[in-house]
């Protein structure tokens, strides 16, 4: 009989999926939930709403060392930012070329708009990655041409934690092609991103991934980069994202960036210690392997594949210990396909089914590690005992 240990204190290890809003962010932004002015209205409290948005824009520009606050476009989510970055540049620049590129491990909100463009005549290719998930720079160079309008590479990967060499990638992209779009959703707030120093043309950020409220995202657009609207309307956000602004979420995202800028270094060091202890203690379980890069890795990210057992079962079993993890298994996805990221790093289907992803955050402490490791070990023993595979 396996005890159901729901009364144990929750250990949340799925910060890549959703993060709690920082209480300081909530305190800062809460008054703006009841803000009634429309930022487009000229009367005074409409203008106050506009001021709140502009303050947030400035905070976010400082967070990524952007040229000015004018480079920051607010959207509703990282998915929306990715869509504008890809469709908006592809459509606006189609007279200069119709080729688009993405790494094989991009998020589906990058890959799907590209596949959609492909149906409409664009040439879409994916850049392979090595077994750690690092973009193949020779292939990148070989696939680029003067017709390549946008190349999209994630700064850090949500599923395997690998950090890409963005500065090098930027040099290669700009040698032949036009724009580099970087999905910074997973990396922002964990490692510093400097759009000017690293040569980034378009950068996607997500509020919730910075402990801000859900419902806000950002697209940074370098001055001079040509993008067009993909959703015409009232012309908010330089005409690139029409629709009345979500003042609460935007205000919260700005404040979240101020806190992240201040605390990132010490917090990432703290999480990295927990991560390293988790990895070293879980990796020693028989036939359990780290996925992603062992060194060039997001500080909060520990991901594994475990032979002979299946990821959704791992997730459900860990939840019985009140520990929440994620998996790239087919059985937990809507498409019933295993994660394209795990297949791209060369895992076989049956290997990709046994994945477990842990993403750490502020609520995690090093003292939780023994309990987590114990739950993983018991889960592996129990599920392997059930499994016909050897």
């Amino acid at each position: 009989m396996v005890l159901i240990m729901r009364d144990m204190k929750r250990i949340y290890l799925d910060h890549a999926a959703s993060m709690p809003v920082d209480p300081r962010v909530l305190q800062f932004a809460q008054p703006y939930l009841s803000e009634v002015g429309n930022p487009s209205s000229l009367y005074e409290f409409g203008q106050h709403a506009k001021q709140i948005i502009e303050d947030s824009r400035r905070k976010i520009a400082e967070f990524i060392n952007a040229e000015s606050e004018k480079t920051i476009i607010f959207t509703g989510s990282a998915t929306e930012s990715n869509n504008i970055a890809i469709r908006g540049t592809a459509l606006r620049n189609k007279n200069d070329g119709t080729e688009i590129l993405a790494s094989a491990i991009e998020h589906i909100s990058v890959l799907n708009p590209m596949k959609d463009l492909q149906k409409n005549g664009w040439v879409f290719r994916t850049i392979p990655v090595d077994s750690y998930g690092i973009v193949d720079l020779h292939q990148l160079s070989a696939l680029l041409s003067k017709n390549t309008i946008v190349t999209s590479i994630n700064y850090g990967n949500n599923e395997i934690g690998t950090i890409e060499p963005i500065k090098k990638i930027s040099e290669i992209v700009h040698d032949k092609g036009k724009y580099l779009h970087v999905d910074g959703k997973a990396a922002a707030g964990r490692i510093p991103i400097d759009v000017q120093a690293e040569g980034i043309d378009l950068l996607t950020l997500s509020s919730n991934d910075l402990y801000g409220p859900k419902g806000a995202g950002v697209l940074y657009i370098k001055p001079g980069v040509k993008v067009q609207s993909i959703m015409p309307g009232g012309g908010q956000e330089r005409g690139l994202r029409s629709g009345t602004e979500n003042i609460f979420a935007i205000a919260g995202m700005g404040e979240a960036c101020v806190i992240a800028k201040k605390e990132m270094k010490s917090e990432s060091n703290r999480l990295q210690n927990i991560r390293d202890k988790l990895i070293s203690e879980i990796k020693v379980i028989e036939e359990t392997y780290l996925t992603g890069h062992p060194v060039n890795r997001l500080p909060h990210h520990a991901s594994f594949r475990i032979s002979h057992i299946e990821g959704e079962s791992i997730l459900l079993s860990m939840d019985m210990y009140n520990i929440q993890v994620a998996t790239g298994s087919a059985c937990s996805s809507k498409t019933l396909e295993p994660s394209h990221v795990l297949l791209a790093i060369g895992l076989k289907h049956e290997e990709a089914h046994g994945s477990m992803v842990m993403t750490l955050g502020r609520s995690n402490t090093i003292s939780q590690v023994p309990e987590i490791v114990k739950a993983v070990k018991e889960t592996v023993v129990r599920l392997r005992n059930l499994s016909p595979l050897k």
Binding site: H308, L316, A330, C331, S332, H349, E350, P388, L389
Partner: protein, 124 residues
Amino acid sequence: MPVYSKKVMDHFMNPRNVGVIENPDGYGKVGNPVCGDLMEMYIRVEKDIIKDIKFKTFGCGSAIATSSMVTELALGKTVDEALEITRKDVAEELDGLPPQKMHCSNLAADALHAAINDYKKKKK
């Protein structure tokens, strides 16, 4: 992620009749690890009645829970009665499965039928 009934979670966490039977009267194997599900079913039969049944399953929560449930449903039945157990019966006994799991992870009845057919073939 799908939402499972309490009964599914109970059978997932405390599966019944796990294991193998040495020299079984019937053995069935369905699924494929490439697709994420593999089930093996073993039966011991006396006078056409299923006297013992064991399983091993690689797969998601519902794959494990349906395997466990089908062994409970089949134990003590005649082989012909057990052949009548359908995927739908297994899902209903578990208070339902999420729609996307009805097809892919509901192979337990098939594994049971495969074991019974193996038994019948050997008997001939």
